[in-house]
Symmetry: C2
Subunit: 174 residues, 2 copies
Amino acid sequence: MNAESHNPTHLGADALRAVFRLHASGVAVITGVDDVNQPLGFTATSVTSLGSNPPLVSFNIAQGSSTYEHLKIGAKMAVHTLGTENLNLAQRMAGPKENRFSKTDWEIGPFGIPIFSCATSYLVGTIREVFTVESNAVVVLGVESAFVNDEEQSPLLYFQRGYLTVGTRLKDNF
Amino acid sequence: MNAESHNPTHLGADALRAVFRLHASGVAVITGVDDVNQPLGFTATSVTSLGSNPPLVSFNIAQGSSTYEHLKIGAKMAVHTLGTENLNLAQRMAGPKENRFSKTDWEIGPFGIPIFSCATSYLVGTIREVFTVESNAVVVLGVESAFVNDEEQSPLLYFQRGYLTVGTRLKDNF
């Protein structure tokens, strides 16, 4: 590479899009309740571990999202990991709000939070921080408990605007 | 599911671990320079898009990391996406600090940032925010430019303490 080849191929928002098209992520469904205990939730590809002592998870959300106003410090939330068998759930929870809880595949779980027991696992925690940046927010959840349902299923991935399975294991990192 | 089955199978840090074992993530390498313009960098599985207007990226880091002290607001950083051909790079940048820049596969790029041109792409940006939570931090980068190198290669995934390829595409989300 010479200095010439450092010339960027993309700028600004286009640069973000170009790079994230090449970045895969796991798919999760986040749920909670609103002020009158009605279920709320959405599909998220931004769930990531933040620390283990104490256990913390972060996810990102647009402040324009209908869910955002309900993400208050102290609120209880669940984060579900999805497997390939949860493809329909991922699509439904990313679609119109009125359809998200229209099926009978969820139940009222701990703290009244809607739980999709078909997910491969879920954790329950409490919102500790909501950091705002421009029109977005980073939400930090303190993790309290988890329920593991299925450890064998391939996780569901999001990549290049589609849903995928994982492929070949190249190398252990034990 | 009945009330009984909501009994958690894991608590606290064990809950975090159990759930994140079932969550896959993309693998990135983040680079920058220290106070005397020496290269620094690390492998990260927490890189995620935060917003597109303006374009923002977030990643998480432990405050105990040797790199943390150099992540100051205004600092320029690069975030590289990795493909499966970058497996060795991912392992090296997650290993001992003294080995990370011991090979000749990097060059000095924009703003003096070390760039691995073998990565599938990289973006360059400026640290806008460093949000601290307990002994961890969420770093927010404003994205300025990007260079795309290889759009065909499978992205490198991290899952269950190993490196993987992506598998079958199940569904488009156009």
